[in-house]
Amino acid sequence: MKPSRVPLYTTLAVLAFLYLPIVVMTVQSFNAARYGGEWKGFTFSWYAKLFEDRSIWSATRNTLVVAISCTAVSTIIGSLAAWVLHRYRTRLQRLHYLVTYAPLVVPDILMGISLLLFYVNLKILLGLGTVILAHVTFCISYVAFVVLGRLQDFDYSLVEAAQDLGAGWGRIVFRVLLPVLGPGILAGAMLAFTLSVDDFVITFFVAGPGSSTLPVHIYSMIKHGSTTVINALSVLFMTVTFAVVVISQFFSRNRPVH
């Protein structure tokens, strides 16, 4: 029986749809014409302009500060959460699970506005600190579920074997748990980092003056019409992300699976 062609053609259409804007934008970033109705010659001038823009550099710095601190905190808290969720089956953990799961399904805008109301109520000044707190909050859940996914395959008898061989909890954590769960925790950390760098809506609500991250900065550039360098900025941004994703995929493929 010959397989149907419909699935193949749909997939090709989906891929074309997904890559059309990316290709257009990349071409446009080298186009001397502003809006790309026509090709007015190849140019690097948008990239040159981009590097002269100091506000972009400060937004990039903010983004990295937020992403790194958020990744560090949320990876630790999230991994711990995954461990207790996996290890204990109590009523407390059922509540814990619900509270950890909910941030994954609540729309960003609700999370943004509710945190804003929270800060305003407590009269906390908006700044980089409030952004980091917000990012940690949604990253904990993502890290927890990524690590929890890896824990499904984790054989608890490894811990019992280590205890049987006389290891204390310190040794168990550093010699057994971390090496075995390392790839899962790393995957969670990478997801947290990417989500933090990527987040716009929540950050937009809780960022104060001077604490703009790159996405917030891009938004205000689009809004205020200074769009000429965004194509170039986007292509750079994209190249870095694609490279990181492809490289991490490549490594995760060659790494022995636990």
């Binding site: 257009v24 934008m25 729309p107 804003l116 941004f237």
Partner: protein, 309 residues
Amino acid sequence: MITRLGRWVLSRLRRFLPEWLLTAPSLLWLLLFFVIPSLLVFTVAFRPPDPYGRIGEGWTLDTLARLMQPSYPAILWRTLRVSMVTTLVCLVMAVPAGYWLARQPASRRHWTLLLVILPFWTNFLIRIFAWRTVLHPEGFLQTSLVKLGILSSNASLLYNEGAVLVVLIYTYLPFAIMPVYAAAERFDFQLLDAAQDLGATRFQAFVRVFLPSIQIGLLTATLMVFIPALGSYAIPDLVGGPSSEMVGNKIAQRVFTDRNLPHASGLSALLALAVILPMVIAMVVRSRHPDKVPVEREKGGPREGGAQG
């Protein structure tokens, strides 16, 4: 008596302390920064605004009264409609694509899958901006369509509901494909052989065997697209016009333009209710095990009652 109680407390402590200590960081963090703020959304709606853009003292029903004005139900309805259309289109595209991906040999599947999710890893705003470039009045799409005579030169591809839909679909399509693919990957394709062996056509086999088998994937895909679509703000803000505003835009306007936090809070509470409803439905459906969901129901008539006798 005291010592007995003390011993009991001690034994409970020894038993539960490790769990409590390990649970505390994440649970307390989420209670403080997620649960309490979420509840605030519902209470602040009953506070008056203050002239400095903060939250005033006392309680009031003003916000609630203003939400009854006819323009709000219209926006809420548009939000629902746009989200439903987005979800539907995403599912229609995701089912064949997920099917195709799941049937690829394992060696190729890895890279085709990566190809599908790669655009999702680009920044959200960059994707929106890319679509603005594509749909721009002076961009290549509009100029070529005008040249071909398909579009009049004063028509606009941008700043309308169509543009909002295209970008919403673009943004959430990977979220629909992944769960459908995950369900299709667990599907035993031999069942399609079995259905054809029993006389079903290819289309009958697809509808009566494949679709019911991936229903959990379809449900997840629906939630993953529908719920964030309901809360869209940046997409209608950047590619939509005044006639395609969604609830998210109104919330942001109240916060950043009018500086009326109680009003924003009331709108958010409304949105939260709209989000909770489909989730409750999904939870009810899912809590009944897929085994118990009667899928092949004949219209009217007894369900093979004779066979069960």
